[in-house]
């Protein structure tokens, strides 16, 4: 391991979520996917008014309740108990997805298996003949949010790049992703390449290039 790698401090899952949260603007209507994206809400201060959407019809979702305040009929898309903040309301599924499909979400944050430079995203199936395929709301969200950000590890468990020229897994949507937050960097999708906006402490351009399949630009 080189000296630079020794001093590298990749962002943790919480730090990735925190890094994405700091870019969310007050007043936005936001849907957070399952996994690291769900953690983003923990890093938006309560005095910054952001309206969180859960696809099962919760508009203005609040934080998780403590054990004494669980409402058995109030869950999020991950089927965890949540709360409704003041100003929130409930809608049925067709209205909830009208908000998504109609382009009313300012932002959706999803996890992914891989993303390419044109903003194609693959996050719902590992192969074309999945033993038990499941899609949920991923395709609706990925196709139609005004902004789509992806939060994911920079490489997969085998060490293979997830920022690629062509997605290796079945697509969720094409041309949708705007920005990616990984444990190594923050990058914008720019059609022919990824533009590096920020890097975790100690990460060098050389290290990032070595762990990315697609072209990176740093200027």
């Amino acid at each position: 391991m080189s000296t630079t790698e020794t001093h590298m401090q990749p962002w943790t899952r919480d730090q990735m979520a925190q890094r994405a949260a700091q870019d969310i603007q007050e007043g936005w209507f936001v849907n957070l996917g399952i996994g690291i994206p769900t953690l983003v809400a923990n890093h938006v201060p309560t005095d910054k008014e952001v309206i969180f959407h859960a696809e099962n019809g919760v508009v203005g979702m609040g934080s998780a309740p403590d054990a004494e305040h669980i409402e058995p009929w109030l869950i999020n898309a991950g089927k965890q108990y949540v709360t409704l903040r003041a100003g929130g309301c409930y809608v049925h599924h067709a209205d909830s997805f009208s908000m998504i499909r109609g382009g009313h979400l300012d932002l959706c944050v999803l996890g992914a298996y891989d993303v390419n430079t044109r903003g194609d995203i693959a996050n719902w199936a590992l192969s074309e003949d999945d033993t038990a395929p499941a899609v949920g709301g991923a395709m609706d969200l990925a196709a139609s949010a005004k902004r789509l950000w992806v939060v994911m590890e920079h490489v997969n468990k085998k060490g293979e790049p997830r920022l690629v020229n062509e997605c290796r897994y079945p697509l969720t949507a094409s041309g949708s992703v705007d920005r990616i937050y990984t444990n190594l960097a923050v990058l914008d999708v720019r059609q022919t390449h990824f533009q590096v906006l920020d890097m975790a402490p100690g990460v060098t351009p050389e290290y990032l290039i070595a762990h990315t399949e697609a072209e990176l630009r740093f200027d």
């Binding site: 099962n56 009929w73 109030l74």
Partner: protein, 226 residues
């Protein structure tokens, strides 16, 4: 006098035929009419097409209906069962057909059926496997997939409060698919936690008007189990 209340689950499900398409409200356990689904198992209808967001939960309701081999085809967005592999096993053994539908498309197909719209174009699914055999058309520079309305012979839904005209309110996120299922079926059957006198429900809080509801059974069963 109009009264849609029936006195038992058996009466509520009377006449459901083999081969029916049955729409189920609910998102996981929340808002799912588990007692009506259990009743459907007792009632005996088979060769069913079930439309639901998930493939049930635990060992009750839809999970048990699947286990009893009563479902020929499942139309679903997220066919997973928390704490069970019933669906995965049936699917792997080719004992059940699956039509996988994006969640918003599933909701809109039912809404369209209830609204008299035979088909619609949606941006969801363009360039994916789920739209592989479907017509794609461009409007204003963006591509859309043609999806068809999804009509049910029967809908089984769960309400929080109901009056004898069939007006319904829902509890929190228990609303989910229930209002769209209610409007999309020929025979809509609701189980309700509470009964309200006619005129007692706030007209501005009624989420499903009684015109979409045919039968109601009062089942104060308590909280859904995650």
């Amino acid at each position: 006098m109009i009264s849609k209340f029936v006195s038992s689950v058996a009466e509520a499900l009377d006449g459901v035929k083999n081969g029916s398409t049955v729409l189920l409200g609910g998102f996981g356990a929340v808002g799912q009419s588990v007692h009506l689904i259990e009743g459907l198992i007792e009632q005996g209808a088979r060769d069913l097409t079930i439309v639901a967001n998930n493939a049930g939960y635990g060992q009750v309701g839809l999970a048990r209906l699947l286990q009893e081999r009563r479902v020929r085809r499942l139309i679903c967005s997220f066919p997973r069962i928390a704490g069970s592999t019933i669906f995965e096993t049936l699917y792997k053994n080719r004992e059940i057909e699956l039509e996988l539908v994006p969640q918003g498309t599933l909701a809109e197909r039912m809404r369209a059926a209830g609204a008299g719209i035979p088909a619609f174009f949606t941006p969801t699914g363009v360039d994916t496997l789920l739209a592989a055999d479907k017509e794609v058309r461009e409007y204003h520079g963006r591509r859309y997939v043609l999806e068809e309305a999804l009509h049910g012979d029967v809908a089984l839904i769960e309400a929080w409060r109901a009056d004898r005209w069939g007006n319904l309110t829902y509890k929190q996120s228990g609303r989910n698919f229930n209002p769209v299922c209610a409007m999309a079926a020929t025979l809509t059957i609701a189980q309700t936690q509470h009964v309200a006198e006619l005129g007692e429900l706030d007209p501005e809080a009624v989420a499903t008007p009684g015109v979409f509801v045919d039968r109601i059974v009062h089942l104060p069963y308590g909280d859904p189990q995650l």
